[in-house]
Amino acid sequence: MRGGAIPILAWGTILLVLTIGNWVWDDKPVNGAAASAAVVIIYSFGVAVWLLRREAIRRGPPEPGTEIENVPAASLSAMVIGLAVGCALFGLVWAKFLLYFGIALFVASVGRLVLEVRAERASRRRVLEERELR
C-alpha cells in the first residue's frame, strides 16, 4: 500500500499540465472537457487509494503486515453478474425478454454475491477468534 497513490497522482498532475495546455491552445470546449474528465478520474482514483490508507502517499517500501485477509477462490455470482449485464444489453437490441431476464439475473446474482461476502467475513471472524483463543 505504501506509496501506491504516488504514481497515480503524479500521472494525474502531468495530465493536468497537458490539459491546461489544451485549454490555452485549443478553444474547443469538448476537448478541454474530455481532458479534464480524465484528470478528475485519475485524481479520484489516487485520492481513493490515499483515503483507504494514509501511508499510500508516503514514499518507501511497504512494511510486513500481519493482517488476515480473505482470498476468494471462486465466485459464481461474479461470473453471472457479467453474463447478466451482457444478456440485458444484448436484449436491448435483439429481444426485449432478454433485457428483463438479464435484469432479473443481475438482481439475483447480486443477492448471491452478498451471501458470498457475508460467508467470507464470517470465516475471517472465526479465524480471528481462534487466533485470540490461542
Binding site: I14, T66, A74, S75, M79, G86, F90
Partner: protein, 548 residues
C-alpha cells in the same frame, strides 16, 4: 500474511471448465482472458485473409462491397477491442501480482465480472454476422454520421455498438483491478522504484485505460441514442464532436496496446542478456511521460477535418519521440556488454524493437499536418499502424509468450519451432505491410473493396495477399508449437532462464496463492539477480581468502 478462506458449506467448490469459469484466481482469469483473446485473434485473422483475397487483384468479386465493409470493420474491431487490448490486460492480470509478490488480485470478483462482461461484448459484436443486413460495417471507429441510423441501418451495427460498450466496460473494470493491485498489494520491500519493468508498463497501461475508456463508454451510449432518433451528432459540428470524443479514447488505446508488449520485450532482453535493464529510472520516467503525452495527441487523427488546432497536436505528437528514444536507448544499453543468448523470446523481442521502429518513424511523418494531408485515408496509414500494432505489439506478445510460457505451464516451448515461426512471420509481415507504404504514397485509398487497374498496384497487392498467407502460416506454427509442447512436455523447472523478477522465485506453474516459500529480500527491481550476484561475490571472497 495469514489467509482465511471461505467456508465450503456456503460456497461450493467448482472443478473442470466451470471451475475455470468461476475462478477468482488472477492466474486462471488471466489465462481465460488470454485464451479467449487468442480465439478472437484467429477470427480477426480470418477476416484479414478474406479481405486480402478480395484485394489480390483489381476488380475482384470474391466478396460483395457490403461484405467487404463488414470484414474490414469487424477485422479492426476484433483485433483492437477483443485481442490486442484484452491480451495486454491478460498479461498484466497474470503476471503483475506474481511480479510484485502479491497473493492475489485486488477486487477479484469485480475482475471476474469484468472478464465475463468483456466476453459477452465480444460474442454480441460477432452476433452481427447472423443479423439481417450483416455485421457492423462503419469501420472500427464508426465515425458519425456514417454510423448513424440513416447511413448504417440494421441490427448488426447496433450489436457492434453494444458489443464495444460491453467490451469497454469489462476491460475498464479489469484494468482498475490491476491498478488497485499495484497500488495496494506490493510485497514488503517492493517500493515503486523496485517494481519490475513489465509491471511499470502494465501500470501506465491501466492508468490510460482508466482515464480514457470511460470516454469510449460515453461515446457508445451517445451513438446508440443517436442511432435511435437521438440526433446527437448532427451536422459538421456533430461529426467533429464524435471524432474528438472517440479519438480521446482511440489514441491512448494504441499505447495501451503497446506498453505491456514493450515491457515483455524489455524483460526478455534483460534476462537473455544476463544484465539489469539499463537506465531503469529514466525508463520509468519516460513511459510515464509517454503515457501522458499519448493522451494529448488524439486530434492528429483529425487534421484533415480542418476542425482542430494543428499546432498543439503536431507538437505533442512529435514530442512522443523523446520518450520513445529513451526506450530504444535503454534497450541498446542493456544489450551492450551483456552475455547474450539468442533464444526465441530474445529474437522476438529484438524484432519487436526493429519492426516497431518502422511504425514509429512513419508516425513522425503523419504527426506533421502537411504530410498527413497527403497520407490521410490511404494505405500509408494502414501500413503505419500495422507496423506499430502487428509488427510491433504482436512480436512483443510472442516475446512474452516464449519468455513466460514455461512459468505458466511448467513446460518449455520448442525453440526451433519458435525461431522458424519468427522467420516466417518476419517475411510475412514485411511482405504484407511494407508495399502498403508505396501504394499509399501513390494514392491508393484504404477501405475500398475494388481498385482500378493501375501500374504497379496489382503486383503490390498480390504480394500483400501472399504475405498475409505467410503470416497465417506463422500463427499456425505457433499453435503447433503450443500443442506439441503441451503434449510432449519438456519440464521447464522453476527458473529456466535465470530470471530476474519474483515470478521466477515460485514454482512453474505457480500455486494458488502464488508463493509457497518465503519471498527473497527485495532490494532492487531484480531481486533474484541480486541473490545470484551476492552468491557470486561470496564465492569470489572465499576463493580469495581460502586455502590455495
Amino acid at each position: 500474511m495469514s489467509v482465511a478462506s471461505a467456508p465450503p458449506a456456503r460456497i461450493p467448490r467448482f472443478t473442470g471448465w466451470l471451475g475455470a469459469a468461476v475462478s477468482t484466481d488472477h492466474k486462471r482469469m488471466g489465462l481465460t482472458l488470454g485464451v479467449c483473446s487468442l480465439f478472437f485473434f484467429g477470427l480477426g485473422g480470418v477476416f484479414a485473409l478474406l479481405m486480402r483475397t478480395q484485394l489480390a487483384q483489381s476488380n475482384m468479386q470474391f466478396v460483395s462491397d457490403n461484405s467487404y465493409n463488414e470484414l474490414f470493420s469487424m477485422h479492426g474491431s476484433t483485433m483492437i477491442y477483443l485481442f490486442v487490448t484484452p491480451m495486454a490486460i491478460a498479461l498484466a492480470m497474470y503476471l503483475v501480482p506474481l511480479q510484485i509478490g502479491a497473493l492475489r488480485l485486488s477486487a477479484p470478483r469485480l475482475a471476474l465480472a469484468g472478464l465475463w462482461t468483456w466476453l459477452c461484448g465480444g460474442l454480441v459484436m460477432q452476433q452481427g454476422w447472423f443479423a439481417s443486413g450483416g455485421a457492423g460495417r462503419a469501420g472500427w471507429s464508426s465515425i458519425a454520421p456514417l454510423s448513424n441510423g440513416t447511413n448504417t441501418p440494421g441490427v448488426g451495427q447496433d450489436l457492434w455498438v453494444i458489443g464495444v460498450l460491453l467490451a469497454a466496460c469489462g476491460t475498464l473494470v479489469m484494468a482498475a483491478c490491476v491498478l488497485a493491485t499495484i497500488a495496494r498489494r506490493r510485497a514488503p520491500g517492493m517500493s515503486l522504484l523496485r517494481m519490475p519493468v513489465f509491471t511499470w508498463t502494465a501500470l501506465v497501461s491501466v492508468l490510460m485505460v482508466v482515464a480514457s475508456f470511460p470516454m469510449l463508454v460515453l461515446v457508445m451510449i451517445l451513438l446508440y441514442i443517436d442511432r435511435h432518433g437521438g440526433h446527437i451528432f448532427v451536422g459538421f459540428a456533430g461529426a467533429i464532436d464524435y471524432q474528438d470524443l472517440f479519438w480521446f479514447f482511440g489514441h491512448p488505446v494504441v499505447y495501451v496496446m503497446f506498453f505491456p508488449y514493450l515491457g515483455a520485450a524489455a524483460e526478455a532482453i534483460a534476462v537473455n542478456s544476463h544484465k539489469r535493464w539499463f537506465g531503469y529510472t529514466a525508463f520509468v520516467g519516460s513511459i510515464m511521460a509517454f503515457a501522458a503525452l499519448s493522451m494529448a495527441v488524439w486530434s492528429h487523427h483529425m487534421y484533415v477535418t480542418g476542425g482542430v488546432t494543428n499546432q498543439y497536436f503536431a507538437f505533442t505528437s512529435t514530442a512522443l519521440l523523446v520518450p520513445a528514444g529513451i526506450e530504444y536507448f535503454d534497450a541498446i544499453g542493456t544489450l551492450i556488454g551483456g552475455a547474450i543468448v539468442l533464444r526465441a523470446s530474445m529474437l522476438f523481442a529484438l524484432t519487436f524493437f526493429i519492426q516497431f521502429l518502422v511504425g514509429g518513424l512513419t508516425g513522425i511523418f503523419v504527426a506533421s499536418p502537411v504530410l498527413d494531408y497527403h497520407a490521410f485515408g490511404t494505405y500509408f496509414i494502414v501500413a503505419h499502424f500495422h507496423y506499430t500494432l502487428f509488427a510491433g505489439s504482436v512480436f512483443g506478445f510472442f516475446a512474452g509468450v516464449y519468455h513466460w510460457f514455461p512459468k505458466i505451464t511448467g513446460a518449455l516451448l520448442r525453440e526451433w519451432l519458435g525461431k522458424l515461426q519468427l522467420l516466417v512471420m518476419v517475411i510475412g509481415t514485411n511482405l504484407t505491410f511494407f508495399p502498403m507504404f508505396f501504394l499509399g504514397n501513390d494514392g491508393m485509398p484504404r477501405r475500398i473493396s475494388r481498385y482500378p487497374t493501375h501500374p504497379g498496384w496489382g503486383t503490390l497487392n498480390e504480394l500483400e495477399t501472399f504475405g498475409a498467407g505467410i503470416i497465417a502460416l506463422g500463427v499456425l506454427l505457433f499453435l503447433i508449437n503450443v500443442v506439441v509442447s503441451l503434449r510432449r512436455r519438456v519440464p521447464a523447472g522453476d527458473d529456466p532462464w535465470l530470471g530476474h523478477t519474483l515470478e521466477w522465485a515460485t514454482t512453474s506453474p505457480p500455486p494458488p496463492l502464488n508463493f509457497e516459500a518465503p519471498l527473497p529480500p527485495i532490494r532492487s527491481y531484480a531481486p533474484l539477480l541480486d541473490l545470484r550476484e551476492e552468491a557470486l561475490d561470496r564465492a569470489r571472497e572465499r576463493r580469495e581468502v581460502g586455502p590455495a
